[in-house]
Symmetry: C2
Subunit: 434 residues, 2 copies
Amino acid sequence: MSTEESSPEEAARPSLSRRGLFGLAAGVGAAGLALGAGAGSAVGVAVGRERAEQEGAASVHPFFGTHQAGITTPMQDHLHFASFDMMEGTSRDDLRSLLTDWSYAAARITQGLQVSATGAVGGSPEAPPDDTGEALGLPAFGLTITIGFGPTLFETEDGKDRYGIASQRPRGLAKLPAFLGDDLAPDASNGDLCIQACADDPQVAVHAVRNLSRIAFGRARLRWSQLGFGKTSKTTAAQTTPRNLFGFKDGTANILADDTAALADHVWVGGTDDPAWLAGGSYLVARKVAMLIETWDRVRLSEQQRIIGRDKSEGAPLSGGKETTAPDFRTKDAAGSPAIDHASHVRLAHPDLNGGIRILRRGYNYVDGNTGLGRLDAGLFFLSYQRSPDQFVTLQRALSTDLMNEYVRHIASGIWVIPPGAKSGSFVGAGLFG
Amino acid sequence: MSTEESSPEEAARPSLSRRGLFGLAAGVGAAGLALGAGAGSAVGVAVGRERAEQEGAASVHPFFGTHQAGITTPMQDHLHFASFDMMEGTSRDDLRSLLTDWSYAAARITQGLQVSATGAVGGSPEAPPDDTGEALGLPAFGLTITIGFGPTLFETEDGKDRYGIASQRPRGLAKLPAFLGDDLAPDASNGDLCIQACADDPQVAVHAVRNLSRIAFGRARLRWSQLGFGKTSKTTAAQTTPRNLFGFKDGTANILADDTAALADHVWVGGTDDPAWLAGGSYLVARKVAMLIETWDRVRLSEQQRIIGRDKSEGAPLSGGKETTAPDFRTKDAAGSPAIDHASHVRLAHPDLNGGIRILRRGYNYVDGNTGLGRLDAGLFFLSYQRSPDQFVTLQRALSTDLMNEYVRHIASGIWVIPPGAKSGSFVGAGLFG
């Protein structure tokens, strides 16, 4: 992140933190948001030698575009996910100003710049800097910021349309149904808004959530947040399939960024099912899935493989071949039983058994320290993008007999719509405000 | 981490997890531990393209040596720190066998190999693999594992010398005194044993703690653990000075790996003060320091800089110059006041005001989600190495009037001695067992 500012059109931009809580909404104009890929030119000025050489350090993804970044973007190594609730008494204008401010800051920090143009560290000593500073000297590290709206944002409360957008609620946007075995913590579930920050450096992802949380002050409050690492899927063919905390490759058959047809079929909201403002957007489902790893680690290899339906070393389906070979559920083993168990994870989740349904997965491993019993508090922070929540619901129901269920617990859950990308000079969700 | 095994002398090595709880101690011979830097030759076989290109991916540090790795080793990007308690009813032999098993596994995984030679993933399907598998295909990523012994390990309990080592207790090894403002959580403090796992990839660090914790089963139990990222110090001149979560550069004046004289003076235990078995070792202090970052972020820049004693952009002392310029506490500002405040952090911690005392710092930033008040639960996991705990105690007492104290809370604490490095074919702490 650079301490130097290069965009003259931003010189008149008011500093974020000195405006007070609601000041920015009035002061913002299109010019202030006119950041494109070109703004990345000042990136990397003070980058340390060894950090700059890291793969991913130099990646810069545009914030503006048809779709929001962070969905088909090559999966970064680190996640900081945050859910927010709008504060009591806030208005439609507050929501609009928050989205405007978030988009302004996100458009900058994803390009490796400080949060604001005029309140930089190194600027006025008599005010708190707009940027908290811990990412100074770091490049963008592929940072993407993806903003979502939860069902509660569109609710009416005591007969009052909270933010005047109830009529524009996407029809699929509702709290997920209960699933067998759910043990959800309400405090770590749902939320009016969400931010998914992904980067190839955790400090950059944390810096994003911290600063967006700070910008929200007085308008929205952090409800819960989750750090993740060691991605459990891939979104491009060039990426190696990573491993989850069960030690198995995960994401082998994910929808990839260059599969335009599959993205259109399964990920991007089209023009007919949902309100026009959501076209080009998506639905995001988050599930925090605790893994009983100590129990799993005592299961013999053959049983682990039976549960998953793939071999552990290579990730090949148990019906034979290599990792990328399609599983064949008709193949029998030497004893005449199905080579891939009927209740294995790979079979139950397979499109062939679910009417062709697919989702784009983007989950991360997490370790939140340990429990009082001396076990690691660890698992999968599952994230999936789909054009309708029905896709996730169908798959999750199909998994009700999954052999893996003995080793996992769903402990938190949330759903949000992901608006399409913002046009340059506009903000995420602008379509909602007409 | 490779699935291939290359060391024929290990073929007879019993598999760890299938031996039952205490089986390994009997079966272990010097040959089983004869791993040196050469064992790294099998590293990287299945490394993904994009991961292998990352800086740090190819780093492999020897486990055996004069000193344990992970102290002067160039600071890696990620930390998983774990504290363990020996289980009730365990014996001196259990402690010895645990240290033997830990050293065996650590010597392997730091070279990018699986936890054991004969119980690899891809081996017998009828047993749980010795290795949990999530680091398969990843290189060593500079992994170091540093093992320490807490004061309680040397205690007598009900008149009984717990592990027959009370007479060999280093005289400096005692619970740290209380400091002004301490608000320590006992459950997240201290412990009989500690493991510091550092790597340039979090999955590799987590894999290490998970597997060492698994190996300890029946002998020691995880007491608490902490993940960290975004190092807050540097240990070589080639590393860029990183920033802490206050947004300031941290570790500018740290003791560096090539400063042999300073290491001898301040870090390595010599031959006279402590028992002979500890020569070449060190003392490790860990402090979990919560930072009130939302409060800090509202402090004006000039005040933030006054508190630290350095400027935020460059890290230069307020007496002038650049980051590497020595602070001059006599310099006055325009108003005739000291340019560096008397109660600033940089002054109170400076060797010139503390009888020349220095410590080697190796701390990491942490974010443990957020509090119920919507604030990030974040701060510094401080780690320092010194030849005597007196060094830390003196400095921490000097900081009792630190202006920074208003923005930090010490919430956990621990101290351990770090034995010298193990000789090839031996184990960490062997000197204790005569």
